[in-house]
Symmetry: C2
Subunit: 153 residues, 2 copies
Amino acid sequence: MILRSATIDDRAAVEEILVSSAGFSEEEVRVGLEVFNSAILGDYSAFAADVDGRARGYLCVAPIAMTASTWHLYWIGVHGGFQRLGLGRALLAHVEDFIRFSGGERITLETSGRKEYEGARLFYEAAGYQAAGRIRDFYKPGDDCVIYCKELP
Amino acid sequence: MILRSATIDDRAAVEEILVSSAGFSEEEVRVGLEVFNSAILGDYSAFAADVDGRARGYLCVAPIAMTASTWHLYWIGVHGGFQRLGLGRALLAHVEDFIRFSGGERITLETSGRKEYEGARLFYEAAGYQAAGRIRDFYKPGDDCVIYCKELP
């Protein structure tokens, strides 16, 4: 696995990741691609995890306006055929180093409170993210938003 | 007081509101104007409260992507010389009707947990907003973010 900055050439691989990971609806794939495009245009920072020369995982982060040193993790995705190999964990550790190096002191993220996202929540909790809030029915009825935050030492 | 949609002609009045309300830093004034410009360009909806033919209060809202019916209150401001007259409350009630009419079912917002923002938090709580989370040191050390949500019946 190789970790590196993502480029415009990763667009097709990112679309494959989004479509293959099954958890994402059509709208989520569309928004995920929009976020990735914005990242490439410079509003966010994007990193990719390559396996055999092709991006199989990626994430997008950006500093949050009007905060001194808080960043937001906008998106993280791993290809359906390359999950449970540690790509997500490696990407997260890589971006935490990048954010720390850039002067960031904490990362926030939002995820679903649904049962299907329990794996994602455990993934974040294992990586040191702590729940900081929950908005009931945020995504849709029965689908809460859980807000996480991690302080970077 | 007259409540109406804001237009590009309100830009100078909005800048006056931001500068006069004392609570906003230079960066917050800049971001506040950016959000207002985006609203006028169509990404958000903006409403103004006029007193004697000039906007003395305004707010910006937008539906949140990937949610079925959740909106976010991005900004609300009342001119320093026109506070405690009910402009904020009237704007909030107006935009809640607008959001309900547009199919929205809840509104989220973020504000500071600092002592200086206690008035703002009490204002939201009196309007039926409930705290749904708190991110420590979000804005800067000692300046938490408090997340509020209101269900629209």
